[in-house]
């Protein structure tokens, strides 16, 4: 009885998934192409399977950034500046996709205060961080047996009074 119910549920789920691939993100964190936000010329190598930045239970080689994190931090140190301003504190996360050529696209921003509540930083902060993130060109694709793969990456900026305290993860 239990197995039958399970199979029925899976069949219904598959039916709905098959009908909705164009409109509903399939997995948590999926970023679908949005013509209002995204560059037309950014191509994902395999739209059907975009991996995550983390590698679990797999022999895949984890992706990364050329020169490791210090190289990435240096880009922000050199290009970001904002006057110390009370109230501009919290976390700003930019999620995006790195394709199999190491190119980036489909950027999405999530901003929250120190209590993890939705919050909007001054647009000068968010726009600048987005601009710098878009300019990063050292992303190394995830690899599976020498084949380069697309993956989702994010950067979170821990911000205090408008200053970047840490870049995560």
């Amino acid at each position: 009885m239990m197995i039958k119910r399970g199979l029925l549920f899976v069949a219904i789920s598959i039916y709905f998934l098959a009908c909705s691939t164009d409109t509903i993100p399939m997995d948590v964190g999926d970023i679908l192409f949005d013509p209002k936000l995204d560059r037309e010329d950014f191509k994902v190598c395999n739209e059907k399977k975009v991996y995550q930045y983390y590698v679990r239970y797999s022999a895949d080689k984890a992706p990364g950034y050329q020169g490791e994190k210090p190289a990435l931090e240096k880009v922000f140190e050199e290009n970001y500046s904002y006057p110390k301003t009370a109230g501009q504190s919290g976390y700003l996360t930019i999620r995006f996709l790195v394709n199999c050529h190491g190119e980036t696209g489909r950027f999405r921003i999530e901003e929250m205060d120190r209590d993890y509540k939705a919050f909007q930083f001054d647009s000068k902060i968010s726009e600048k961080l987005l601009e710098i993130t878009k300019s990063l060109d050292g992303w190394i694709p995830r690899k599976k047996e020498e084949k380069d793969l697309d993956y989702y990456q994010y950067l979170t900026f821990k911000i205090r009074d408008g200053q970047i305290i840490q870049i995560l993860p």
């Binding site: 210090p70 996360t93 995560l168 993860p169």
Partner: protein, 275 residues
């Protein structure tokens, strides 16, 4: 050997902490029993997949007090940088079963967001609520007392951090686990206690001679003590280890007190320029 056995047992207990719940426990409550079974279905699917999340939603709809499903549904949001969604879910789990999830939430705040104050609040609250061992963090890398020490260290409360290392590793007889002496050594190095730093870093090497990072800080401490021969030897070893990938890595985030190749090379350049 006995200590190592206890450590492995404790780590195993921690790793099992969020193992799937035993649904039989909920036999007396039909809806919550079904919710548990739905959660068991959810975890059969790829974490974060649409189908898995649908099963968690169904589980929660069946039994709104089934904390496990809130926590587990939130995990992919946490790993994929959607922290607002994660926090709402984990807060609900903590509200329902604080002693089960406070330590986990605190650890995640530290690991993913370097929210030291938030992590301290959660772990301290857990400590105030229970009179048993609060256990290890989710990854098994640290006892939560050491995670707490790391938080205090990072916000500059060195005395509190040091007291926690001392109490947990020495006074309680608990002993150190895989990375503890490394961080304690770094703490003492940063506090200017170089001889003590060398002692702890050497203890780390004796216990777990794997990480290039340990040799990097050992080198820095030796330099401060003007032990230039030991400094040069340790920094060379740090590079050798690093190039052989004998470095600390975490699947999701950069670890605390992480060192990079560029840091090591900077020291090596300094040595060369002095020669």
């Amino acid at each position: 050997m006995k200590k190592l056995g206890i450590t492995i047992l404790l780590l195993a207990c921690t790793i099992l902490l969020f193992a799937p719940p035993n649904c039989e426990v909920y036999r007396g409550d039909k809806k919550c029993f079904e919710a548990c079974e739905e959660a068991m279905l959810a975890i059969r699917y790829r974490q974060g997949s649409y189908t898995s999340q649908v099963h968690f939603d169904k589980s929660i709809a069946l039994c709104e007090s089934f904390a496990y499903s809130y926590m587990e549904k939130g995990v992919p949001f946490l790993k994929r940088g959607q922290f607002i969604a994660w926090k709402k879910l984990i807060d609900k789990a903590v509200e329902l079963e604080p002693t089960a999830y406070l330590g986990y939430r605190g650890w995640c705040r530290l690991q993913f967001l370097r929210d030291y104050e938030g992590a301290i609040a959660d772990i301290e609250e857990l400590k105030s609520m229970v009179n048993y061992d609060i256990g290890f963090c989710q990854t098994g890398d640290y006892h939560l007392n050491i995670a707490l020490a790391l938080c205090y260290k990072e916000i500059g409360e060195v005395e509190k951090a040091r007291a926690l290392f001392q109490e947990h590793i020495i006074d309680s007889g608990y002993g150190a686990t895989i990375f503890d002496y490394y961080h304690w050594g770094v703490l003492e190095y940063e506090a200017g206690n170089y001889a003590l730093a060398i002692d702890y870093l050497n203890r780390q090497i004796a216990m777990n001679d794997y990480m290039g990072e340990t040799y990097y800080y050992l080198a820095l401490a030796q330099k401060e003590m003007n032990h230039m021969k030991e400094y040069a030897k340790a920094i060379q070893k740090a590079k050798e280890y690093y190039l052989n990938e004998r470095v600390r890595r975490d699947t999701y985030t950069e670890t605390i007190d992480k060192i990079y190749l560029v840091d090591i090379e900077k020291e090596l350049l300094a040595i060369q320029s002095e020669m």
